[in-house]
Amino acid sequence: MLTEPHPYPGKLIVVEGIDGSGKSTQLTLLHRWLVSQGHKVFFTEWNSSALVRRAMRRGKKKDLLTPTTFSLLHAVDFADRLNYKIVPPLKAGMIVLADRYAYTAFARDVARGVHPEWVRGVYSFAPRPDLAFYFRVPIDVALDRLLGGRAKLKYHEAGMDVGLSRDPHESFRLFQGRVLELYETLVQQFGLKVIDAMGYIDSQQQIVRRMVSRSLRDYAGTVAEVAIKALHHA
């Protein structure tokens, strides 16, 4: 499905990028603006469904996860959110904002060692977003941002499970370096819109809003709004 437009009246906008790229900040600002414009917006983020939370926590803590089970558990999370959180608002004609989407799996899980075609097959039920941003940032900048905010890198974020290095900073550099390379291939394959995440936050946001506006040109609002408009015209 990732290759064909989805059939729903809503709009699906996603952000991608490595940790520390600033994508979540940009999505929050976009969310505020869309709501202020009177839109009905629903927000969802990666790895947040209750269904696999326990298995994920247990697997991570005990280091039970292999790259394949790690990938499949994230796919369960995604499929669960798609069914309960993403598709219903899209059917209702709302705007859905997703912090990370299937592309995250194509970058991260492949960097961990799963087959790129296999993981694309696993996620082939995912609807194609109307707009997908990729926030491109060099490793060192991302690392500086993450370490500025909190003192320690998270185990999986640094790719420590992959065993590239025992030093978390070095591991982060190596692992996220692979992830960055893979994102570049995704930009080509799936037409992600690249935003230079080195720029000022507000100028990045201007570009994002401009592109979103363009993508919303054919957007009529929620199903309820469309129905009310039709009533008034009648």
Partner: protein
């Protein structure tokens, strides 16, 4: 002297970080619908194989330490879709494949699997999932050396289930809304499931055993088939005077 075991392969794209070209063990799968008697047969096969001198490891559907709780909980809550159901099964399967099945095969064990990916293929087809997708999902699976299929029809299955543990919600496919009561639903659901298994038996060349026969007859046939396979493979045994592969490492 043992011949080197036939190389194993993945069903689809596989798991690139796992080497499977040197797995001297044998992966033997028992397939068949619910309550067909798979576990009764396995209970008798395992001690027989051990007496014959083979080291045996067992694995069963949804039994991984990582996910069995999550699957049970989700089933109880009825919150699963066919997609999340399949993905959970695949995660459970991958966990057992990487942590149980492949290590045992590497050590030269015979791995007896109670159900395998074909169960997911059959169930998903009945539940209406995209067949191509299900097969891609299980592209990470190892192709078994031998698939023994316990074939039955719904008419013979019904009394067996009623005499045994009774009909349960999932095995009756109640969530599919196939019938107004559990009996009708069970018969329809199991008929469809069996039809899918029969189709898969042709496609994947299962060895079919008539599961309507007495337990001892089925057991004898299974042993006959397994013996033939192990002889052909020259599977390492203690009896043949060759050390187990794990010990020579």
């Amino acid at each position: 002297m043992n011949m080197p075991a036939a190389p194993k392969s993945f069903y689809g794209y596989g798991i690139p970080y796992l080497k499977v070209d040197n797995l001297p063990g044998s992966l033997i799968v028992l397939e068949g619908t619910d309550s067909v008697g798979r576990s009764t047969q396995i209970e008798q096969l395992v001690p027989w194989l051990e007496v014959e001198g083979y080291a045996v490891a067992q694995t069963g559907w949804t039994r991984s330490p990582l996910l069995s709780d999550t699957i049970d909980e989700a089933k109880a809550g009825h919150e699963l879709t066919v997609t999340t159901f399949s993905l959970l099964y695949a995660a459970d399967f991958a966990d057992r494949l990487e942590n149980e099945i492949i290590p045992a095969l590497r050590a030269g064990f015979i791995v007896v699997a109670d159900r395998y990916m074909y169960t997911a293929f059959a169930r998903n087809a009945v539940m209406g999932a995209d067949r191509h997708w299900t097969r891609q999902l299980f592209g990470c699976a190892l192709v078994p050396d031998l698939v023994l299929y316990l074939k039955i029809d719904a008419e013979h299955l019904v009394p067996r289930v009623l005499e045994g543990k009774g009909m349960d919600y999932w095995e009756s496919g109640m969530y599919l809304g196939l019938g107004s009561d559990i009996f009708d639903s069970f018969r329809r659901y199991q008929s469809r499931l069996i039809r899918e298994y029969n189709r898969l038996a042709q496609e994947f060349k299962f060895i079919t055993v008539d599961a309507r026969r007495p337990i001892e007859t089925i057991q004898a046939q299974l042993r006959h088939r397994i013996s033939a396979h192990l002889r052909a493979r020259n599977h390492p045994t203690v009896r043949q005077g060759t050390p187990a592969v794990a010990d020579t490492d």
